[in-house]
Symmetry: C2
Subunit: 335 residues, 2 copies
């Protein structure tokens, strides 16, 4: 078992470089020069997004393997590209590593990144590897491309639009509770929740399909459905009404909620990290979408209303109440 | 004086967003959606580079102001774009900040970034702001563009080419010694050295000029001239002969070397962070360049030779000796 200080920075880069290019036609220079050189697709807009993951804030090395962490570090960025209706293209990966990190840890971290990049045909074209006095930090920047006509922002929702999501919510946050409690290996229902938390699947193909089908706004659910609904409402200057009874939850979320004496729906509304998409669409287009893709796992959860109504949650008895944003906020005092 | 935990993540983002776009024609969506959306220039190659700066590894908050740190975090990336012959376009900035960070610190950090971005017409289009349990981490990713014919890699040097640099070397490393010793405020010669270390000037215009003039290889001097010469030699499969007497040093570097009982030239060869460019060029083109731009601050420091000669330094007595790379290596045991 080698540690990084034996391998050195350049030995490490040689290991990282392998199997990083999946779409050779778009890469002129990959890892190893001052900058990567790539070929943009003519007449497409370019997308840029970055996410930084910090040890003890975003992940805990006692509950994630390095492979899972690498996979997730890329996944969260692909999810942002998906939310714009785009196709991810290239990734630039910076890691700050304590010197005592075993080389195998780093190799497995990159294996997880390379696996999801292979799956989505994303090239790792560059980055930076530096030492950290304490704790692991990963920053991934991903570029994407989108046809100008298919770009979906947060700001296009119109009153009357359907609000829908691309899959079941709450699993990731329930999985985090199980991981934090340290009891998930004994719970028969835990596996899908823990998996949803550790290796989320970005909805890239679905995002592109929804963009082409006329989504008027879209957001990936990184901070909980409530927070994303507020972001769309704010950017689009509309109100949003969500129906509690329509929000799709995996049955395992209910089991986890029972275990922790929580409301299952709170995992979906306030939990975050599901990396499903929430989108708005004119009702006629939404019906046409369902007719054209009967197997598409989209679920209607509400409707866009006038901004004066704000963001509300209608309970199963038909009572509407104001819905707070309450997503994860990095510098909020209460946390 | 507000701390971040009072301001919150979204209050912070609102502050950061101001004055970030200088070239409005190329930005469709800046900070605030899932991803930034930019317009690539038709028929140009795209460049991507990233640098991560970690507190206590890359900087010390007792010797840099937040403004200087922000400036440098962008500068080191622009330098990588310059080394490819490109023009920088967009920056994506991620910062991990301890919760106790004063809001003023962050505002000044971004002011430094915005100042150099304004100067080089680079847009800050996105990023991530997260909390850090300990220590500040900054990752900047910069995109650039270059005409395909003007792309300069490390791999094009040919035996017979001139080796030259774009300015005086060693100042940054001498400045770091002064800062570390904590005595620079008493030294009349210190100011230009400390400035070179804290707010290096990326050689963007010169890089583009050299690319257009036919540079066969180019590298920015981030790890010392010796290390960059080795990188060009390795990538181009050539040898490089440097002449010690020709390497340009600021007079202040000699004063600092005397103070610390070091060899002045070692600051240039092994110090790093000068962010000048080293390049190779056919002698005829080099002469034509000097004739066309008599004020250009380029200095010939050596020549490209056959790979069998390796990388050597010829001293003032005409004796050649093998030159070791010895740049900064993040995971090397000796450090």
């Amino acid at each position: 078992m080698h540690e990084l200080q034996e391998l050195g920075e350049f030995g490490l880069i040689d290991l990282i470089k392998q199997d990083t290019i999946h779409d050779h036609s778009s890469v002129v220079v990959g890892i190893g020069d001052d900058a990567a050189v790539v070929l943009p697709t003519p007449r497409q807009l370019q997308l840029l997004t970055a996410d930084m993951l910090v040890e003890s804030v975003h992940f805990d090395l006692t509950t994630t393997t390095p492979w899972q962490l690498g996979y997730k570090a890329i996944a969260v960025n692909l999810s942002d590209i998906a939310a714009m209706g785009g196709a991810p293209r290239h990734a630039v990966v910076s890691v700050a590593l304590p010197r005592s990190t075993p080389a195998d840890f780093v190799i497995n971290l990159y294996k997880g990144m390379k696996e999801i990049c292979r799956e989505f045909s994303v090239n790792i074209v560059g980055g930076d590897t530096v030492s950290s006095p304490q704790g692991l930090v990963i920053n991934v920047t991903v570029t994407g491309e989108v046809e100008p006509a298919n770009l979906v922002r947060r700001s296009g929702a119109q009153p009357g639009d359907v609000v829908a999501v691309t899959g079941k919510l709450g699993s990731s946050a329930a999985g985090l509770d199980l991981l934090t409690a340290g009891e998930w290996e004994d719970s028969s229902f835990a596996w899908p929740l823990v998996t949803a938390h550790l290796t989320p699947r970005p909805q890239v193909k679905t995002g592109q399909l929804l963009a082409a089908a006329g989504a008027t706004s879209m957001d990936d659910i990184s901070d909980g459905l409530a927070s994303e609904a507020h972001e769309i409402a704010k950017a689009s200057q509309v109100g949003i009404k969500l129906y509690a009874g329509q929000i799709p939850l995996a049955p395992e979320v209910t089991e986890a909620a029972d275990k922790f004496n929580k409301q299952a729906i709170d995992y979906a509304l306030f939990g975050g990290e599901d990396f499903q998409l929430v989108f708005t669409m004119e009702p006629g287009k939404y019906e046409a979408l369902l007719a054209a893709y009967p197997d598409l796992a989209v679920v209607r959860v509400g409707e866009v209303v006038d901004s004066s109504e704000g963001v509300t949650l209608v309970d199963e008895a038909g009572q509407a109440q104001k819905l707070e944003a309450r997503g994860f906020n990095h510098f909020r005092q209460e946390e």
